[in-house]
C-alpha cells in the first residue's frame, strides 16, 4: 500500500482544484457543479464547499447524478441505483462533472449520456481528484486533475475519507 496524497496534500489539492475552476469561470451563474454517485459525491461536496468559501454570496448550483441506468453492462452484472438530485436546469449551462478517480472512462461516458437527458448544456468539463492516465478504455480526458498517476489494471486507488488520504494498493 502506498499513500498518493496524505491529509495535508489532499486539502491543498482540493483547494487548488477549486481555485482552477474559479479561474476559468468568472461568471458562476452560468456554471453548475455535478458530482457523480457514489464515490464522486464526497469530493464534489468538498470542492463545492471550497468554491462557496472563495466567493461568498454567490449562488453555486450543485447536484448529484447517478449513472447506474446508463451503464453498458446490465446483462453482465446488476447494479443498484443511488439517488440523483439535480434540482435545476442544465440547459445552456457549463456543467462541471466531478468524480474521485478517472480510470477506464466508462463511468464518464455513461454520465455524458445521462446529462443529455437533463437538457443541452453549453459545455461539459471534467474534474477529477486522481487520474489513472494509462488505464483509459475510451477517449476521455480530464480538464482539471488533482493528481495524475501511473497504475496497472491489478492495482486499486481509493480515497479514504475517514483518514482523509488517497492510497494505492
Amino acid at each position: 500500500m502506498k499513500t498518493i496524497l496524505d491529509k495535508r496534500q489532499l486539502h491543498l489539492t482540493i483547494l487548488r482544484l477549486a481555485h482552477q475552476l474559479l479561474e476559468n469561470h468568472l461568471q458562476l451563474d452560468e456554471v453548475v457543479f455535478i458530482g457523480l454517485q457514489p464515490r464522486g459525491v464526497q469530493i464534489s461536496k468538498r470542492i463545492v464547499d471550497n468554491v462557496r468559501n472563495l466567493c461568498k454570496g454567490e449562488n453555486v448550483q450543485y447536484g448529484i447524478l447517478d449513472i447506474t441506468f446508463y451503464r453498458d453492462d446490465v446483462r453482465k452484472e446488476l447494479h443498484i441505483a443511488n439517488t440523483t438530485d439535480i434540482p435545476f436546469s442544465i440547459e445552456g449551462k457549463v456543467v462541471i462533472l466531478i468524480d474521485d478517480v478517472l480510470y477506464t472512462g466508462r463511468t464518464i461516458r455513461a454520465a455524458l449520456d445521462a446529462l443529455q437527458d437533463f437538457g443541452r448544456p453549453k459545455k461539459i468539463e471534467l474534474c477529477v481528484l486522481v487520474d489513472r492516465r494509462f488505464n483509459r478504455e475510451l477517449p476521455i480526458q480530464p480538464d482539471y486533475c488533482g493528481k495524475s498517476i501511473d497504475t496497472s489494471y491489478s492495482q486499486k486507488v481509493k480515497v479514504e475519507w475517514e483518514k482523509e488520504e488517497v492510497v494505492l494498493y
Binding site: T68, R71, V74, R75, L78, I80, N82, T84, Q116, D117
Partner: protein, 309 residues
C-alpha cells in the same frame, strides 16, 4: 444486492429485502420520470413480450410504458386477436414467441397459477401481471410505494382492505406484502366475500362493520367487486352492497381522523366507492397509477439484470 427470485410470480415468494430493494429502485425511477427526457437506456438489448389473456387498461399501459422508458423492445399480444382462438395452447404460444429471442414475459391470465406453470417450462423471466384470483404482485408493490410516499414507512401502519376479498388478487398480494413489511392488515366486507379461513391462514383482522373498520385504519384500500369472477349470488344487489359497504363521504366525515383512500381501479363509482370520495384530496388513486410505471420499471430492471447468471 439483488432479488432472490428469477421471476416475479407473486409477493408470496419475495423476502422483505426483495420488497425493499424494489421500492428503493422504484423511487430512483420515479426521479427519472420527472426529467426532461423520461427515458434511460438500461434495457436496450432486452426484448419483452406482454401476453394479455385477460382484459386490462392500467396494468397493460403501465407495463408498456415502463418497458419503453427502459428502452426495451416490446411486443404486445392479446389473446382475442391471436391464434389462441384457433386452439393453440399457452405453452405452444409462449414457446413460439420465445423462439424469436424474447428475454422476458409479462403475463396476465384468468387462470390462477398460469405464470407459475410457464415458469416451470420456459427459460425466460416471467412477471405476473395478475393471475385469476391468486396474485397481482406489481399492484401490491405500487400500493406499498404509494402508501410509503404518502405517510412514510409501512412498519406499524394499519391498512384496511375493503370489499371482494374472496375474488381479489390485489387483496392477496397486498396482504402478503403488508405483513412482510410489518404493517397491520384488516379486511372488511360482507361475510360472503371474505374467505372463512383468512383470519388464521393469513393472520389478518376481520371486521364486518365498515364504520368500525374505517375508524381503525390509517389507509383504506377499496377493492372492486369482481362480478366477472362470481359464479353465484353473493350479495343481493349492487345498491344494497353500496349501502352497507360503499365508502361514502358521509362515512369518512364521521371518523375522528383523516385516512388515506386507495383503489386499484377500475372504479365502479357508486358501488364500492362514491365519486366524491374517489375524487377527494384524501384519495391517492391517480398517484397509484403514476407510481405504477416507476414500480414496474424497477421490477423489469431488477429481473433483467438478474437474468445473466
Amino acid at each position: 444486492m439483488q432479488l432472490s427470485t428469477k421471476h416475479l410470480l407473486g409477493i408470496k415468494d419475495l423476502s422483505a429485502e426483495d420488497i425493499s430493494l424494489i421500492l428503493a429502485t422504484a423511487s430512483q425511477f420515479k426521479e427519472v420520470l420527472q426529467r426532461p427526457v423520461k427515458k434511460v437506456p438500461s434495457l436496450r438489448d432486452i426484448t419483452i413480450v406482454n401476453l394479455f389473456y385477460e382484459n386490462s387498461t392500467r396494468t397493460r399501459i403501465s407495463f408498456e410504458l415502463a418497458e419503453k422508458r427502459l428502452s426495451a423492445d416490446s411486443i404486445n399480444f392479446s389473446a382475442s386477436a391471436s391464434s389462441v382462438s384457433k386452439g393453440e395452447t399457452l405453452l405452444d404460444t409462449v414457446n413460439n414467441i420465445l423462439s424469436m429471442k424474447v428475454d422476458m414475459v409479462v403475463m396476465r391470465h384468468s387462470a390462477s397459477g398460469a405464470p407459475h406453470f410457464l415458469a416451470k417450462h420456459i427459460p425466460a423471466a416471467i412477471v405476473n401481471a395478475g393471475d385469476g384470483i391468486n396474485e397481482h404482485p406489481t399492484q401490491a408493490l405500487l400500493d406499498a410505494f404509494s402508501i410509503q410516499e404518502k405517510i412514510g414507512s409501512l412498519e406499524g401502519k394499519k391498512v384496511l382492505l375493503i370489499g371482494d376479498i374472496m375474488h381479489s388478487r390485489v387483496a392477496l398480494s397486498n396482504i402478503y406484502l403488508l405483513k412482510k413489511m410489518g404493517a397491520e392488515v384488516m379486511v372488511a366486507g360482507p361475510p360472503t366475500l371474505i374467505p372463512t379461513y383468512i383470519k388464521e391462514a393469513l393472520q389478518v383482522k376481520v371486521e364486518y362493520n365498515l364504520k368500525k373498520a374505517l375508524q381503525w385504519c390509517d389507509v383504506a384500500n377499496v377493492l372492486r367487486i369482481q362480478l366477472e369472477r362470481q359464479n353465484q349470488v353473493l350479495f343481493s344487489s349492487l345498491r344494497e352492497y353500496n349501502l352497507a359497504y360503499g365508502v361514502s363521504k358521509k362515512l369518512l366525515d364521521g371518523l375522528q381522523k383523516e385516512i388515506v383512500i386507495m383503489h386499484p381501479g377500475p372504479i365502479n363509482r357508486g358501488v364500492e366507492i362514491d365519486s366524491d370520495v374517489a375524487d377527494s384530496s384524501q384519495s391517492i388513486i391517480l398517484q397509484q397509477v403514476e407510481n405504477g410505471v416507476a414500480v414496474r420499471m424497477a421490477v423489469l430492471y431488477l429481473l433483467a439484470g438478474k437474468k445473466a447468471e
